[in-house]
């Protein structure tokens, strides 16, 4: 669906050139939710803006839904943009228009007749759950509702691709989750390809199928979300994964407990995919003469399986056998304290 081929974006500046995007190659498939994560200044914003021609690459080519957006201009580019919608961090709604008029705007641009515009807008208002608010102005809406209008507006022209430019970064956690659920729903229902950029691993974990990690204009790591969670290669990726897997307080808790437990072992178990849902602990207690204390655990569902960590304390006569059993399972086992 989207081919990004050896793309570079170089800005001239006083202190030499700035490579905002440096030799990026990406393939994004039809119907996929693809996430690009990076800290601010990593170049992800420039990258996503090249997908609808708001930025033109200095080198390389970008093809989206069969349009070579890095090359076409004028009316052909405008036509292509009707198939590549975008939603924004700050929503970018027209304050002078009501919810319904905002959603109708892309249809006015496409030259759709008034009656059809109204029909389509009503459908979309229902789809994003804004019934009863169609005649409200953006200033009368909450942040989450504004983004719902943004999404409805983006869907009005029946696009093939939806670009999300930090679409949840201005929202509170609860609203973020509601908007992300809506995006997944749209992706499944309409088969829409979604590309999103974010600095929150939570967003990637929750809705993306594949992810690319960007640093200094380069894609340093990419692949299915579950794999990246399982084996993060780069330092930056590990930091992002830690954002969702290992809360800050875990380290403190563990250190505290290490002092508290005089005997037995403390083990960290890592679950990935299917294993995360198997009753390994139950098997463990039933098969061996041991006591198991669960210290801390967290399971994070992703779009292609779950990922979780569990800290347990093992003690008893068959401790060694129990450890061997754990190591024979398809989970990662790390003994923190013998």
């Amino acid at each position: 669906m989207i081919h990004i081929n050896r793309v570079k974006k170089i800005y001239p500046s006083k202190n030499g050139e700035v490579r905002a995007v440096d030799n990026v190659d990406l393939e994004i498939n039809q119907g996929e939710i693809f996430g690009v994560i990076g800290y601010s200044g990593a170049g992800k914003s420039t990258l996503i803006r090249m997908l609808n021609g708001l930025e033109i690459p200095t080198e390389g080519s970008v093809t989206v839904a069969g349009h070579e957006v890095s090359k076409i201009k004028g009316s052909r580019l405008r036509q292509a943009r009707q198939e590549i919608s975008m939603i924004f961090q700050h929503f970018n709604l027209l304050w002078s228009r009501t919810v319904k008029e905002n959603i109708s705007f892309p249809l006015e641009i496409a030259g759709v007749k008034k009656a059809n515009r109204d029909k389509k807008a009503d459908e979309l208002i229902k789809l994003v759950g804004l019934e009863g608010r169609e005649n409200a102005y953006p200033s009368q809406l909450s942040g989450g509702q504004k983004q719902r209008v943004g999404i409805a507006r983006a869907l009005a022209s029946d696009p093939k691709v939806l670009l999300c430019d930090e679409a949840t970064s201005a929202l509170d956690p609860q609203t973020t989750d509601a908007i992300l659920d809506l995006l997944v729903d749209i992706n499944k229902r309409l088969g829409l390809t979604i590309v999103l950029i974010t600095h929150e691993m939570h967003v990637i974990r929750k809705i993306c199928h594949r992810v690319a990690v960007m640093e200094n204009g380069k894609v340093v790591e990419s692949g299915p979300v579950i794999n990246v969670f399982k084996h993060p290669q780069e330092e930056i990726t590990k930091r992002f994964v830690q954002q969702v897997i290992e809360p800050e307080e875990t380290k403190d808790t563990i250190e505290h407990l290490l002092a508290q437990y005089k005997s037995g072992s403390i083990v960290m178990l890592g679950f990935v995919g299917e294993n995360a849902e198997q009753p390994i602990i139950t098997k463990l207690i039933r098969s061996f003469d041991i006591t198991v204390n669960i210290i801390q655990g967290k399971i994070s569902p992703t779009q292609n399986g779950s990922y979780g960590t569990l800290y347990i304390h093992l003690d008893g006569a068959e401790k060694e056998q129990a450890l061997q059993f754990l190591q024979s399972q398809e989970i990662s086992v790390e003994v923190i304290k013998k």
Binding site: L54, Q79, R81, N92, L94, I109, S139
Partner: protein, 221 residues
């Protein structure tokens, strides 16, 4: 009434009021169109905008600044040749129009430019990302989104124009200014000057009231 204002000829006063309203009305319509046009071009040709063009921007900006800084009374004199060509006379209400419009339009153009600069850049980008044509962006985004500023700008300009019509009256254009000057000042009939001034004040208050009302009504932010 005749006791309070012995020298006021109410029929003449009414006629002068109509002349003032006529001059203000015609020139404000022309100022609105011309100012809007210049303001939009000034905005769009500025650096980083849709039709970014430093040369055109500088030329229009210079012309606007020149006409904005010439005192109105001098502008009328300078424009005598043009007025003679356009209107064919230097006396009467129509003779004031070219100077009124050329004096007010650059002023309004700057207000339009400021109003357009206040439009959220993100909204313009959103329209672009939807595949909007430049004309669509101008008429469906830039102008509606800056409408309160455009209306309050035209209110300020109209009030300035009422003042200018009075000045134009002094050199023979008619209207309340002309009456106040000829009948009031030169014949030492201060009651005529007073009544003419009060009428001008009332006109200004009404314009301000209407302008504020429409601005508030339009602003949904």
């Amino acid at each position: 009434m005749t006791h309070l204002f012995p020298n006021v000829d109410w029929e003449k006063m009414w006629l002068a009021t109509q002349e003032t309203l006529y001059m203000t009305g015609i020139s404000i319509v022309a100022t609105f169109i011309l100012g809007l046009l210049l303001g939009v071009i000034l905005f769009l040709t500025a650096k980083g905008n849709m039709w970014s063009n430093p040369a055109i921007n500088k030329i229009i900006s210079a012309v606007v600044n020149i006409f904005r800084s010439i005192p109105f009374i001098i502008l009328i004199v300078l424009l005598i040749p043009l007025t003679m060509i356009l209107v064919g006379s230097m006396i009467g209400v129509n003779a004031a129009l070219p100077a009124l419009i050329i004096g007010a339009a650059p002023f309004y153009a700057r207000l339009v430019e400021i109003g357009l600069r206040e439009v959220d850049k993100g909204v313009i980008e959103a329209a672009k990302s939807m595949g909007a044509k430049p004309a669509t962006i101008i008429f469906k985004v830039l102008l509606p989104e800056s409408m309160p500023a455009l209306v309050s700008g035209i209110t300020v300009t109209t009030i300035a124009l009422v003042g200018s019509t009075a000045m134009a009256g002094v050199i023979g254009a008619g209207g309340l200014g002309n009456l106040a000057y000829l009948e009031g000042f030169q014949r030492s009939q201060s009651d005529v000057t007073l009544v003419a001034t009060i009428i001008i004040l009332i006109i200004v208050f009404i314009i301000q009231f209407i302008g504020d009302y429409i601005t508030a009504k339009l602003d949904k932010r």
